[in-house]
């Protein structure tokens, strides 16, 4: 029997490498383009089932008028998610402020800050009602595609916007947005904004999804890691060394119900700002007075937009992601 002459070894290696590339292409196609849970809604509105946040702050008693002089008026109990009692009034003042905004439901002061290695921007945000804390997906729906954060901010007429957790890039991770559960699987640390305005972040191992749902989770993010552990910089982070190192960053911090901060960090710019490590970011959030903090999708995904202007210098001008956090502008769809 006549044997065929084998192909040259370099050609065989080249064909195998091409095969690896083709398989990675097929993998990416199924991982990122063809999604089997496209837009599938897991559960309808959480708030509708558990809490009503549009309830009036207090129901006036019709007989109270008669006895008004005799007995002092009862102190109204604010409804969950109504922060009118703590919503500040007066002038907006802040050192290093590069911009501010105020109306009857929203107050924002954006400041520019520097460390030896990085420039970062802090947006201090007060809202009167938890519904003022908004999120949006690219394309207007879950798994609706990717868009620049600045484009999403513009489409929603946002006063302030920050890149989110880019949930579409991962096959798992809890996604609750504006009271609606879109995905109920876990991947990494979780941050929850509850309908009463409390924000808490959890280590993946200690998170109880059912308890969070029962408590009225209004927004959730799944990127992480958690940045503040009992008021301290965590001893370790539930993420890789590459993410722990200096990077451009987006993060969200919590002071009290109705009072939050969004942080954007310039990075990967050797002559300007190489970014912050997670330790540095945690310490900054603690110094700001945050009681909880959570890291969002960073790197080239990081972008903050304030009143239509991109804040700082996003790495390579930013990139398309799947979602944003925003304040002001249109109500979520």
């Amino acid at each position: 029997m006549l044997h065929k002459k084998p192909l040259p070894i370099l050609l065989v290696i080249l064909l195998d490498v091409l095969g690896i590339g083709a398989m990675l292409g097929i993998f990416s196609l199924f991982m990122f383009v063809i999604r089997f849970d496209n837009g599938h809604l897991r559960q309808s509105t959480v708030l509708g089932a558990t809490q009503t946040i549009d309830a009036p702050a207090a129901t006036p008693d019709p007989n109270a008028q008669q006895d008004a002089a005799a007995t002092p008026a009862p102190t109204p109990t604010p409804a969950p998610g109504d922060f009118s009692a703590t919503f500040p009034t007066g002038d907006l003042n802040a050192a290093n402020a590069i911009g501010s905004y105020a109306d009857e439901n929203l107050r924002i002061v954006v400041t520019e800050n520097h460390t030896n290695d990085a420039s970062y921007y802090v947006a201090d945000v007060w809202i009167r009602n938890v519904q003022g804390f908004k999120t949006a997906f690219a394309g207007g729906k879950f798994n609706g595609g990717y868009a620049m954060p600045s484009t999403m901010a513009s489409e929603n007429n946002a006063i302030l916007a920050l890149s989110g957790d880019c949930n579409r890039a991962r096959p798992a991770g809890l996604v609750i947005r504006n009271g609606t559960v879109y995905r109920d699987t876990l991947q990494g640390d979780v941050c929850i904004l509850y309908a009463d305005g409390v924000m808490e972040s959890y280590y993946e191992s200690s998170f109880d999804l059912d308890a969070a749902m029962a408590r009225g989770a209004y927004q959730s993010w799944s990127f992480g890691p958690k940045l503040i552990d009992n008021g301290q910089v965590p001893s370790s982070y539930n993420t890789s060394d590459a993410i722990i190192a200096h990077n451009p960053r987006s993060a969200i911090g919590y002071y009290e119900p109705g009072h939050y901060c969004l942080i954007y960090v310039d990075g990967r710019q050797s002559n300007n700002s190489k970014g912050l490590t997670l330790d540095e970011l945690s310490q900054i959030m603690i110094d700001l007075g945050c009681v909880d903090g959570y890291n969002l999708d960073g790197g080239q995904s990081s972008m903050m937009v304030f009143q239509g202007q991109v804040v700082g210098s996003p790495y390579k001008g930013g990139r398309e992601i799947s979602d944003i956090i925003y304040f002001g502008g249109n109500d979520p769809q």
Binding site: F27, R170, G173, S240, I243
Partner: protein, 90 residues
């Protein structure tokens, strides 16, 4: 059989290269779930099946080769015995 083994060998090399790439990517961003997603599991199962098929065909081929060599040795021994018996006395 040899052709099947060759194809399976290339398939396992391709899958291995793919998973090495995914393992490196996973080091940089474990949040993407390169090794834990549903589609990764499908590819891992396919990889395992191709490795099992390659292993089975290799073992079968080796056994057949060993059997063939054993038969040849037996044949050689028999011919040697016959030739010894037919040798003219000195």
């Amino acid at each position: 059989m040899r052709k099947i083994r060759t194809i399976l060998s290339h398939i396992t090399i391709i899958f291995s290269g793919m998973f090495l790439t995914l393992a490196i990517l996973n080091q940089y961003n474990p949040g993407m779930g390169f090794l834990t997603s549903g589609i990764s599991m499908v590819f891992i199962v396919l990889f395992c099946l191709s490795v099992i098929a390659l292993g089975v065909t290799t073992i079968a081929d080796n056994r057949r080769y060993a059997k063939h060599m054993h038969q040849r040795e037996e044949e050689a021994a028999r011919w040697k015995k016959i030739s010894n018996n037919n040798r003219r006395p000195q």
